[in-house]
């Protein structure tokens, strides 16, 4: 088990290094620099700016410098926001995205596992059909359609919420709902499928035969195995929920890290792009690792294979 975790960890480190290197050179080889958009930059000022940020050094030297400061946890200065470091910007924006993400994740889990379980234990009844259609509809209608439609109905016509912004608690409802539903749909399908497979197995019959109540059979015995597919889905999903809500942040004008990332790429803000990419990569890798460990813990078969 320890060997398994160590090898996965080393693999992630290698992947992270590749991501950093690829992004670093990709951003640099693209036409346009961080200062090209600025008006009235004379050649001398440009030279001074470049010297200030170390952009006049050879590229290889810049790369090594970057890795050096990265090792100290310093993501460098932002090129577009004068006098701000990438670390500051990230610490500023991440809590917003993380808050939106955690609420949405809670919505997704409660709704998804709940509906999936209901559908599985009431298989082929109208409960199942309603829950399963919700799953299919939720998967097929993208967030950028659901989001604006909900804004139109609940915010503009009924006036229950603000159409955009991120101020009071009420501003959390619509974005978290849209993002949560998008992930609840696949979770409900995975839960249903996983549970159905488990509910036919011998150990469930044994549990029933021993007189365990139906509630206990489902929650204590079946769900542990039945949620395995959900757990492996959760790795990428949580990463997506916590960070990848670019669309939601755009629709509702939420000052999170997703919007910042897209803007930084437009602005050629080299260090900010790299910083956000590294943040995403670390998060995704950490979550995948966590999922691998959770799966090994939940399923002896996986444990033995590795």
């Amino acid at each position: 088990m320890l060997r398994f975790i160590t090898s996965r960890f080393l693999q992630s480190l290698l992947a992270l290094f590749l991501v950093i290197t690829a992004t670093f050179f990709m951003v640099r080889f693209v036409p346009g620099g961080p200062f090209t958009a600025e008006k009235a930059v004379t050649p001398e000022i440009l030279r001074n700016l470049e010297a200030h940020y170390g952009l006049d050094k050879p590229l290889g030297q810049q790369y090594l410098d970057y890795l050096g400061s990265l090792a100290r946890g310093d993501l460098g200065p932002s090129f577009k926001y004068p006098n701000r470091t990438v670390n500051e910007i990230i610490f500023d924006k991440v809590p917003v995205s993380a808050e939106l993400g955690s609420i949405s994740l809670a919505v997704a889990l409660v709704l998804g596992i709940g509906l999936g379980t209901l559908a599985a234990i009431r298989r082929n009844t109208w409960v199942d059909y309603v829950a399963s259609s919700f799953g299919m509809i939720g998967i097929s209608i993208p967030t950028f359609v659901v989001g604006p439609l909900l804004v139109l109905a609940l915010a503009i016509h009924l006036g229950w919420f603000n159409a955009s912004g991120w101020y009071g608690p009420a501003d959390r409802v619509l974005p978290a709902l849209v993002l949560g539903i998008a992930y609840a749909a696949p979770i409900s399908r995975l839960t249903r499928g996983g549970l159905l497979e488990v509910l036919n197995q011998d150990f469930i019959r044994t549990a029933r035969a021993k007189g365990a109540s139906e509630f206990r059979v489902v929650t204590r015995h079946a769900l542990r195995g039945g949620l395995l597919p959900v757990v492996s889905f959760l790795g990428p999903a949580v990463a997506g929920i916590l960070t990848g809500s670019f669309v939601i942040e755009t629709i509702f004008q939420i000052p999170g890290i997703g919007r910042e990332f897209v803007n930084s790429a437009f602005n050629r803000d080299y260090t900010l792009v790299l910083g956000t990419v590294i943040l995403y990569a670390v998060l995704i890798m950490a979550l995948n690792l966590a999922v691998d460990i959770a799966q090994a813990w939940m399923n002896p078969k996986v444990r033995l294979e590795s």
Binding site: Q11, A15, P142, G244, N288
Partner: protein
């Protein structure tokens, strides 16, 4: 986005109850009959056919061009002259929707084809040769799996002008990983079967074994996964277009139309509702068709 792991080895399932098989009732014919029985999958297939035909032929029949503006008209609600109304520049929404459909469907098919080709070749090579080569190739896939690909795609589109060919390649390059895993798993399990041993003992060459004996036996999972990849790819295209990074005006795609519609929905809701509905219906149909195919071809996957 949906995540797949490689399918579990096929477990014995009760054989489909069929009348005594007549001659020529091939596996594919059986699968087709089973698919036809699935109402939702049939509905998906039919509505896809209608949408695809409309997108191909519709713009030819319409009196309007997709970039033809009528500024005097401006945004108008659906009417006899413009069935789905017009946008703020007075362009006919129906034509733009059908035209956008061509782009969206083309991106979906082309990028899926890129993913399919890379994935099948890569997975087949890894699975067939096994050993160290397989270990190396699959470790690389594992490593690539843990990379933040949507982020890379966004970055690529922002940095290298929004070029539609690049869009195909970038999306295709992201989506091949799962296909490679599925194909590798299939090849590994099939190559151990007795009929392959029989083929080998008959002295057949490697190439013949791969193409004549292994490949046809894994067409099922490949077809199913391909069908389920297309909606994912179309979603990614629309997502990029929604962020303003995909298809560029005056060309339209469903993502672009939804983006425009969302900006103007307060005054002109039809600009959002029609493209949103058509796009969702297409994804819906593809997902149902994929699900139906999975049942018809009896492919077990961990998806549900």
């Amino acid at each position: 986005m949906t995540s797949f792991t490689s399918p579990a080895p096929a477990a014995p399932r009760p054989a489909p109850v069929d009348e005594p098989v007549e001659q020529g009732n091939s596996l594919w014919h059986d699968a087709w009959l089973r698919l036809r029985k699935n109402k939702l999958a049939t509905f998906g297939l039919a509505s896809l056919a209608v949408i695809a035909f409309a997108c191909l032929l519709g713009p030819l029949l319409s009196p309007y061009g997709y970039e033809e503006q009528n500024l005097d008209l401006g945004a108008s609600a659906p009417s006899g002259a413009h069935w789905l109304g017009t946008d703020t520049l007075g362009r006919d929404l129906l034509v733009r929707l059908l035209f956008g459909g061509r782009i969206s469907l083309a991106v979906g098919l082309a990028a899926t084809f890129v993913a399919l080709t890379i994935g099948v070749v890569y997975g087949a090579v890894a699975g067939f040769f096994g050993g160290k080569l397989d270990a190396l190739m699959m470790r690389s896939v594992d490593i690539m799996y843990s990379m933040p690909f949507p982020i890379f795609v966004i970055l690529l589109m922002v940095l290298f002008g929004r070029n539609i060919i690049l869009l195909f390649v970038a999306i295709g390059a992201v989506e091949w990983l799962t296909m490679a895993r599925i194909v590798r798993g299939q090849v590994m399990s099939i190559k151990k079967m007795e009929f392959i041993e029989a083929a080998r003992s008959l002295g057949l060459g490697r190439r013949r074994i791969i193409f004549r004996h292994i490949l046809p036996n894994m067409l099922g999972p490949i077809i199913v996964y391909t069908t389920l990849t297309i909606p994912g790819v179309m979603l990614l295209e629309a997502f990029l277009s929604f962020l303003g990074l995909g298809v560029q005006p005056p060309m339209s795609s469903w993502g672009v139309l939804i983006k425009d519609g969302a900006e103007k929905m307060e005054e002109f809701p039809w600009l959002l509702v029609f493209p949103g509905t058509v796009f969702s219906l297409t994804l819906f149909s593809l997902n149902f068709l994929g699900d139906g195919l999975r049942d018809a071809l009896d492919v077990r996957s961990s998806k549900d």
